[in-house]
């Protein structure tokens, strides 16, 4: 058992919901409302020093009653110790949890991926957009258990929406403006991006 688990219980008391060990990994389930506070403490306390956020991901269980879990994989580069934190989000309430981009800049894309695949909203995220699916994607969140494997629309509708998408609209204004190539873009493209154009897809005809 990782001693950080006990330290967390001492420090945060009831905000630490559960501690267990599985396959040699210590898993700490925390109160989702206090996730940023707990992660900041783990990162900034010298005895803990979990300075590396390996991954953020999420789990939805086949049992529909169970809550979704947001999983934080931490690692202390100095002490060479891993730690896994989980925060359960009930399906009765809006799927929201505080963003940790202010602690680790690398959380930016990880949280976008979780948002894209599970529809979990990270509050205070600076740029919460889809990252894998395109921005006009309208079928929902692919890794949710209620999402059909082949998507919600018919294949012809999927092809129609894909072919009507604007392949240049996958980048945000911020990404393009920090790229040197931005000033070499055609003037009309720069103008369209400045207007925040993300491509336009007409409403599906007679679809579910």
């Amino acid at each position: 058992m990782n001693p950080s688990a006990e330290a967390l219980q001492r420090q945060f008391g009831s905000a630490i919901r559960r501690v267990r060990e599985s396959c040699g990994d210590t898993i700490v389930t925390i109160d989702p409302a206090r996730n940023r506070e707990i992660l900041r403490w783990l990162k900034d306390t010298p005895e803990q020093a979990y300075d590396y956020l390996v991954d953020i991901t999420a789990v939805e269980y086949r049992d529909g009653e169970l809550p979704l879990e947001v999983v934080y994989e931490l690692f202390s580069l100095r002490r060479k110790v891993p730690l896994r934190l989980k925060a359960s989000l009930s399906k009765d309430q809006p799927l929201e949890i505080a963003s940790v981009v202010s602690l680790w800049a690398g959380a930016n894309w990880l949280e976008r991926e979780v948002f894209d695949m599970f529809g979990i909203t990270f509050t205070d995220h600076p740029d919460l957009r889809r990252i894998l699916m395109w921005e006009t994607y309208a079928e929902g969140y692919p890794l949710r258990k209620d999402f059909p494997l082949r998507g919600r629309f018919s294949r012809s509708e999927q092809v129609r929406q894909a072919l009507n998408a604007n392949p240049e609209a996958h980048y945000s204004m911020e990404e393009l403006s920090i790229a040197e190539a931005y000033y070499e873009l055609p003037a009309d493209l720069r103008e369209r991006l400045a207007r925040g154009e993300r491509g336009h897809v007409a409403e599906p005809e007679g679809e579910r």
Binding site: E139, G151, L163
Partner: protein, 207 residues
């Protein structure tokens, strides 16, 4: 019928000497198709493991330059064959369509591998079920991935197909644009082409 050359220096006089030098007769179709089929410049659109096999095909051991394809054009403006090697996600569908539209006529498309031809094992929400729902395809190469021999066989089939074309029928060179819905095929045709088959019939959670 073949293209003959006339010796200039008088040595090795194996050709018919009664024909005057510097001219020959042939069918224009034959000559054009001979030239086209032996100098196809591919535009590789490699998205997955098929592209690795394509690289092997292009490298020294299999060497597609034997078939006049040694110049891999990474610009669609100077390419004749769009070679889609690998799976095509919906996110890349408008990209390959734009590349196809940017290629000048005459142009052909080879769909390399199971995923490009049918979606393969990826019968899911993210994958185009056969690139023929997006661009017209001339030759489908089966395999997962196809061996270089398989791709070469597909290339030879495409050469054979080109040699059967005729300039008299210019309809095959008419640009096929997307219709007003933005589709290449009728929606019911796309649905039919994308239907599950084989093992994907037994997938759970499918809709």
């Amino acid at each position: 019928m073949g293209v003959t050359t006339t010796p200039t220096g008088g040595h090795r006089g194996t050709l018919v000497s009664s024909i005057s030098p510097n001219w020959l007769t042939t069918r224009l179709d034959f000559l054009v198709n001979w030239a086209r089929s032996n100098s196809m410049w591919p535009m590789p659109f490699g998205t997955a493991c098929c592209a690795i096999e394509f690289m092997a095909t292009a490298a020294a051991r299999y060497d597609i330059s034997r078939f006049g394809m040694e110049r891999l054009g990474f610009s669609p403006r100077q390419a004749d064959v769009l070679l889609c090697a690998g799976r095509l996600p919906f996110k890349l569908a408008p990209v390959i369509r734009r590349i196809y539209d940017q290629m000048p006529q005459p142009k052909w498309v080879i769909s390399m591998g199971a995923c490009a031809s049918s979606g393969g094992i990826f019968d899911n929400y993210a994958m185009v079920q056969g690139i023929d729902t997006v661009v017209p395809v001339d030759v489908y190469v089966p395999g997962c991935p196809p061996r270089p021999e398989g791709l070469l066989y597909g290339i030879l089939l495409l050469q054979k197909k080109i040699r059967g074309e005729t300039l008299a029928d210019d309809s095959i060179r008419v640009e096929q644009s997307l219709d007003e819905r933005g589709l290449r095929l009728a929606p019911d045709r796309i649905d039919e082409l994308s239907e599950p088959f084989g093992n994907s019939l037994h997938q759970t959670r499918s809709a």
